[in-house]
């Protein structure tokens, strides 16, 4: 069975949520068998999830059934966007919370109800699905793109093995899962912990909610996995003044964290006998691809570290030759069994096989140091040539953030860089700082004020929504 779920004692709890619902490993195996029996042929299913034990059970049971192939989506997906995905992919099944309002025509076709979720047969016919296709994830939660990432069962096995190995996960672990199940890193927390028979503490509560903190304390969470934004909130919540003796591991992924905040958590963990592990990953690779071992957390702060076990990172120059010398920038490439098969843009793509063969160009520009630790410089393409000088947009954002404290997003053309900030009073200062640090004439920068920097729900900036001239 997938990640040997049936080898874990059946009565052990796989997931416990902040409403007190529990599912055991046995529950997941039983549900999986039931799904397999009632669905029969391999079918596409839109699974609209909340962060609950029931949703986790349905996701894992579907995957383990190798029969129901889920596209995992936020239950709060905007109705128009959901409809356009339905029109594009025409799923044969829907799996939704019992409280979810459906059109009446759907209501009568309930196949199964369990753990607060209902499985419903739609009027759509079955479509061709590649035999190894395990699940689909959206590439963007909010912009309405129908582009999905196609995963295979071997990706799940590889992610579960690699991640549980380098985090040294064990059956007694009780990871806190605040990242959503429809997000690659959230799912990877589930895969890697169920692989070792741990109990996932799952919640959709807000971090400023009193119940969130009582859940952590009562259930004695042993680890926390977050994106930079989560740690920003934890910091504001005075996490470092809290007494959480069971919390032994903090892990971060989902984008570069500001250096000062990264260092603050690294130092806090070192002083308090906890592990701080920064990671790097992409949804195209079933989440984690690199990790910075805790011994380097402070010394090499900002580095993404080394490849996860059983995988390989490399650098290529613009001619596609491998770069072997340290401190030389090139496009970072990755080889490993967690590399997904490719994208889907329409229903017929679901029949496609593996287009990548375990290798991917990440689109990130990076270099490595003498110890083999990698450092991301920026996205390929996130560079401008101003007066013939190559200027990194991500680097400029870092400068503005560090020097002025202003949150910003840089876009532009080779004519001019457009810097978007939200604080009008810093307009002049931001321009000055950029001129000082880059030594490029002031007319190359235009600083614009907007009410808010557009971001997706994991906090990544949506540059495409900002005019670049």
């Amino acid at each position: 069975m997938l990640i040997d779920l049936d080898k874990i004692p059946a009565e052990r709890i796989a997931a416990l949520d902040s409403s007190g619902n529990k599912v055991s490993y046995g529950d997941i195996c039983t549900l999986s068998a039931a799904v397999k029996q009632s669905v029969g042929e391999r079918s596409l299913c839109f699974m609209l999830v909340e962060n609950t034990a029931g949703a986790l059970a349905w996701v894992m049971a579907s995957l383990a059934s190798e029969t129901l192939v889920p596209l995992i989506l936020n239950v709060k997906t905007e109705a128009g966007l959901l409809q356009s995905l339905m029109d594009t992919y025409k799923p044969a099944y829907l799996c939704v919370p019992e409280t979810f309002a459906l059109e009446q025509t759907c209501d009568s076709n309930e196949v199964k109800a369990e753990f607060g979720y209902r499985l419903i047969r739609t009027a759509n016919p079955l479509c061709a699905l590649y035999p190894e296709l395990s699940h689909l994830l959206p590439t963007s939660g909010s912009t309405g793109s129908p582009k999905l990432v196609r995963h295979k069962y071997a990706n799940i096995e590889a992610a579960a093995l690699n991640i549980s190995t380098f985090f040294e996960l064990k059956a007694s672990d009780r990871p806190l899962l605040v990242l959503p199940l429809y997000y690659t890193m959230g799912l990877s927390v589930v895969f890697s912990h169920l692989k070792v028979g741990a109990t996932v503490l799952i919640t959709g509560l807000n971090m400023t909610d009193r119940l969130f903190w009582s859940f952590i304390k009562t259930e004695r969470a042993t680890s926390f996995t977050g994106v930079p934004y989560s740690f920003h909130i934890l910091n504001l919540m005075r996490f470092m003044r809290m007494d959480l003796p069971d919390m032994e591991l903090l892990t971060q992924g989902g984008g570069k964290m500001p250096t000062d905040l990264n260092l603050k958590f690294a130092e806090f963990c070192q002083q308090h006998g906890k592990r701080w592990i920064a990671t790097y990953g992409q949804s195209e690779c079933t989440a984690r691809m690199a990790w910075l071992p805790p011994k380097w957390a402070i010394e090499k702060v900002g580095s993404i570290g080394i490849a996860v076990p059983n995988a390989e990172l490399s650098l290529q120059d613009s001619d596609g030759n491998e770069i072997l010398t340290p401190h030389t920038e090139g496009e970072m490439c990755y080889r490993g069994k967690n590399v997904t098969m490719g994208y889907a843009r329409q229903q017929s793509d679901l029949a496609l096989g593996d287009e990548r063969g375990g290798f991917i160009r990440t689109g990130d520009l990076a270099y490595r140091d003498e110890d083999g630790c990698y450092y991301i410089v920026g996205r390929m393409g996130r560079f401008l040539k101003l007066f013939g000088m190559r200027v990194g947009l991500d680097e400029c954002e870092q400068i503005v953030q560090t020097e002025t404290g202003a949150e910003c997003a840089c876009v532009g053309t080779d004519e001019k860089m457009i810097v978007y900030i939200t604080e009008a009073q810093k307009q002049e200062q931001v321009k000055q700082v950029l001129v000082e640090k880059t030594h490029i004439v002031a007319t190359s920068f235009e600083v614009r004020i907007i009410p808010e920097i557009p971001k997706n729900e994991t906090g990544k900036k949506l540059f495409k929504q900002l005019p670049n001239k």
Partner: protein, 79 residues
């Protein structure tokens, strides 16, 4: 500026709220913008305005205009 005016100014800064909007009904449930980030902003403005260092317990309790006043009183601010 007295303490109440200082306190009201925090809500003007965070939500753009006018003093006549503020009262017993001004709370997380009724104010759609009141999410975790806004809640944390209120706390950090309170710390700056009244020179306090508030606890996690205060942050989670800060879910209404009146609750914020209670937090200030608990921390020795007369309001």
């Amino acid at each position: 500026m007295n303490n109440l005016e200082k306190y009201n100014e925090i809500f003007a800064n965070v939500f753009g709220a006018q003093p006549d909007q503020l009262g017993a009904n001004y709370c997380k449930e009724n104010v759609s913008e009141w999410d975790s980030v806004h809640q944390l902003n209120i706390i950090s403005e309170m710390e700056d305005a009244f020179d306090l260092m508030l606890d996690p317990e205060d942050i989670v309790a800060c879910t209404s205009y009146e609750a914020g006043k209670d937090i200030l009183r608990r921390n020795g601010v007369e309001i």
